[in-house]
């Protein structure tokens, strides 16, 4: 076929005896956007790591614009024109925009010093092309994630990139930043650059991609023009079963006791005069755009940040002082949006993560932990939450897929049977199948009488799981509605 940018034939890879990729055949055409979808653990990351030269394939062939391609390192992949834009960005926060753009090779003067003037000029051109609101001298640490991402894309373009791989690029972007990214991706396509776009947000994949490839259990299930797929078909081929419901239905009743009550709390001008009440068995959602103060509200409620004004009542007790420790004593739990840095000991085995919170209750009077009980509870959690792990005593958390990592975070707190549960973006970076399982866990907790607060930027998710929803904008609650009044348009209107 003409104009094939990257061709993979029969690429195989196994890790310690487990076959992760079973003979992948894939064509990426020049100037097209190819969506790559699949559940966590389907082998997307492995495949991309092989293309990016991070790991070597066991067998198979790759060719890049007709030439045999076998990258030995990430650097050689970069030099051959393949660039990655990851969730976590590859920029140096302590350097300026211009320095980041030229980090791999600065323009130099005749005696080897950096030619600041040339660097500034070239950086300005680059910035102008994307009309970024920065100067070459701006330090990256002062920029938002969206702008950082644009800088990373610009940097890739400066290196004569022919293929760009986006791995979940929108997870920390605001709506406007996302639109801008999509516009940029379309421009890249017009310039003949091939795009591989990996995302769990199928809506985006449909909007952006010409063709979609579905990967499941290390095999390519289907590759077809995007127009030939319907969303339900796509989900079906990803999950391998019919997903009639995206959200589970669990019969539960809302009690009358208020477990969590906040009245008129404010923090640093970011959270302003917010009040809320959550009853036994109730799930309350908070929707808002980036920067609306949602995450900050959660942090204040859990005592991570000290509130400036207002008071918080848990289980009917007015708390004079808030700290995570006090909240945990009140049987509250907080699952953060940043599971990598805040929620998990990523270089420890699954078991050591699961029992982290429960440990204190498992020790006897002498401080010795009841190992039998600990193992039983861990195994039970792995079973209940369907965490996919082969050896929970040895396998490290960071070797699990995103969805399973999130389940470990849940497991850690669920074992403690929290009365109050605060969740910040509980399904970020999690695939459809695992999302369903996480919603089930949440609903079952509510059924058993917990009060749950979910913060999310996905309206659908909140509509699907919550009993009541608050909308936040600029730190203020602009709307409070029961399930019967949920309306997409109205919610968005209140948030914008």
């Amino acid at each position: 076929m003409a104009n094939v940018a990257l061709q993979l034939s029969d690429v195989r890879k196994a890790f310690t005896g487990v076959q992760v990729l079973h003979g992948i055949n894939l064509d990426l055409r020049a100037g097209e956007a190819l969506g790559l979808v699949g559940e966590n653990g389907a082998g997307k990351s492995t495949l991309m790591n092989i293309i990016g030269g991070v790991i070597a394939m066991d067998s198979g062939r790759m060719s890049l614009f007709g030439e045999p391609y076998d990258p030995r390192s990430p650097l050689s992949a970069t030099e051959l024109g393949i660039a990655f834009v990851h969730q976590e960005l590859n920029l140096f926060a302590n350097l300026t925009v211009a320095e980041n753009l030229f980090i791999a090779g600065f323009p130099k003067t005749w005696f080897g010093a950096i030619d600041r003037r040339a660097m500034r000029r070239k950086a300005s051109e680059c910035i102008a092309r994307f009309s970024l609101p920065v100067t070459p001298e701006t330090k990256v640490e002062s920029l938002s994630v969206g702008i950082r991402q644009m800088i990373e894309i610009s940097r890739a373009l400066m290196r004569n990139t022919r293929i760009m791989i986006f791995d979940e690029p929108t997870t920390s972007l605001s709506k406007r930043e996302k639109e801008k990214l999509f516009k940029t991706i379309n421009e890249l396509k017009e310039r003949g650059i091939s795009i591989v776009y990996i995302s769990h947000i199928l809506e985006d994949v449909f909007r952006l991609c010409d063709r979609i490839t579905v990967l499941r259990d290390g095999r390519i299930i289907a590759t077809a023009p995007a127009a030939d797929f319907s969303e339900s078909q796509l989900i079906k081929s990803m999950v391998g079963r019919e997903m009639t419901h995206l959200y589970p239905t669990v019969e539960k009743a809302i009690g009358s006791t208020v477990l969590l009550e906040a009245s008129r709390i404010s923090w640093q001008g970011i959270v302003k005069d917010v009040s809320l009440k959550i009853r036994e068995g109730e799930i309350v959602g908070i929707y808002g755009l980036m920067g609306a103060g949602r995450t900050e509200l959660a942090k204040v409620l859990f005592g991570v940040e000290q509130l400036d004004k207002g008071e918080v009542t848990m289980n009917g007790v007015k708390l004079a002082r808030l700290s995570p420790e006090i909240c945990i004593r009140e049987q509250a739990a907080f699952i953060t949006e940043d599971r990598f840095n805040e929620g998990l000991l990523s270089t420890k085995p699954v078991d050591d993560n699961l029992d982290l919170v429960k440990m204190a209750d498992l020790q006897n009077r002498m401080g010795v932990v009841n190992v039998g009980e600990r193992n039983r509870l861990n195994q039970q959690a792995i079973r209940d939450l369907q965490i996919k792990v082969s050896d929970s005593k040895r396998q490290l958390v960071n070797s699990l897929s995103g969805g399973n990592q999130q389940k470990v975070v849940f497991g850690k707190w669920v074992m403690k049977k929290p009365r109050i549960l605060i969740l910040d973006e509980p399904t970020r970076g999690v695939d459809v199948g695992a999302k369903f399982e996480i919603y089930t866990i949440i609903l079952n907790l509510a059924k058993s009488g917990s009060a749950i607060l979910i913060i999310s930027s996905e309206i659908e998710e909140l509509i699907g799981t919550c009993d009541r929803m608050l909308v936040m904008k600029h730190g203020v609650v602009t709307g409070d509605m029961p399930k019967s009044e949920f309306d997409r348009e109205k919610i968005l209107g209140l948030a914008l």
Binding site: F92, I103, A104
Partner: protein, 331 residues
Amino acid sequence: MKANQHLGNALLLLLTKHGVYAALLTLVILFSLANRQFCTSDNLLLILQQASPMGIAVVGMVFVLLVAGIDISVGRSMFLISTVIGFLGTIGNDVLGAWLNHSWGLALILGLVVVMGGMIGLLNGVLVARWHMLPFIVTLATGSIMRGVGLKLSGSASLNVPPKLVTLANGRVGFIPIVVVVFVVVVVIFDYVLRHTQYGRHLMAIGASAKNANRAGIKVNRNLVIAYVVCGVLGAVGGILSAGQIGSVAAGFGEGNEFIVISAAVLGGTSLFGGKGSIFPGAVIGIILITTIMNGLAMMNASPFIYTIAKGLVIFFAIALDSIRYRGELR
């Protein structure tokens, strides 16, 4: 009560950013009030002269701290290298002694010092970069070995350093001490390297994230090793000048200097967490502050024990400042 928090945060930030200048100014005023001799041009020049040898070592330390490393062997390498020079001078061998006191003996001495310092830095750097050993432990070990070798060599006796060196370290051009000139030259060169060369910018990048630096195609290991070599060489030069100022190398020479050097760098805004710091004004102001404290205490005839306490307090405040600054700006 929480309304003040905003103001409090702003004040804290201001203090951590510019507190060193405020502290220096306060100390100068206090010491001037306590002793009329303090704020004389003679004494202020003396402070600069006293600060210069350690200041040269601080410049090297900044390089290592920038890549989130540390070199606590620097005081002991100062001891070993100065002992070797003193030993060569007093070995009783007329030929060698004559060489060292010959007109180009000084160049020979400095050459030897640079080579020895570079080799020590190379050893530390390779152990840290290639063998992935913790810099703290590596330099603790190499430092201990160097101290042992030095003591064996001198038999823990006090050795005189070659007279040429004493002249250099205490001499003046016009009214300006030669060591101050050397310090200024070192600062200018290495500040330029840090700010205006690819190597300097790569050090900053490695300090921010070694993983990302590697992915961006930066030769992380090589740059790390060079940073340790720079630290070793400048530490050695600072050490020999310090020995020259005293005129001899006693058994306790150099002990604790590593902490003066590290605290000076950190007081000057260089972070122990890597990726942040400067030579000018940072390292310069840091060492001047510490030397001012020592000089002022001496002018007030403070007990020697007070010095140790003062050094401890300085280290404590430097590190506390660093932690606050780190939370305040990088997160």
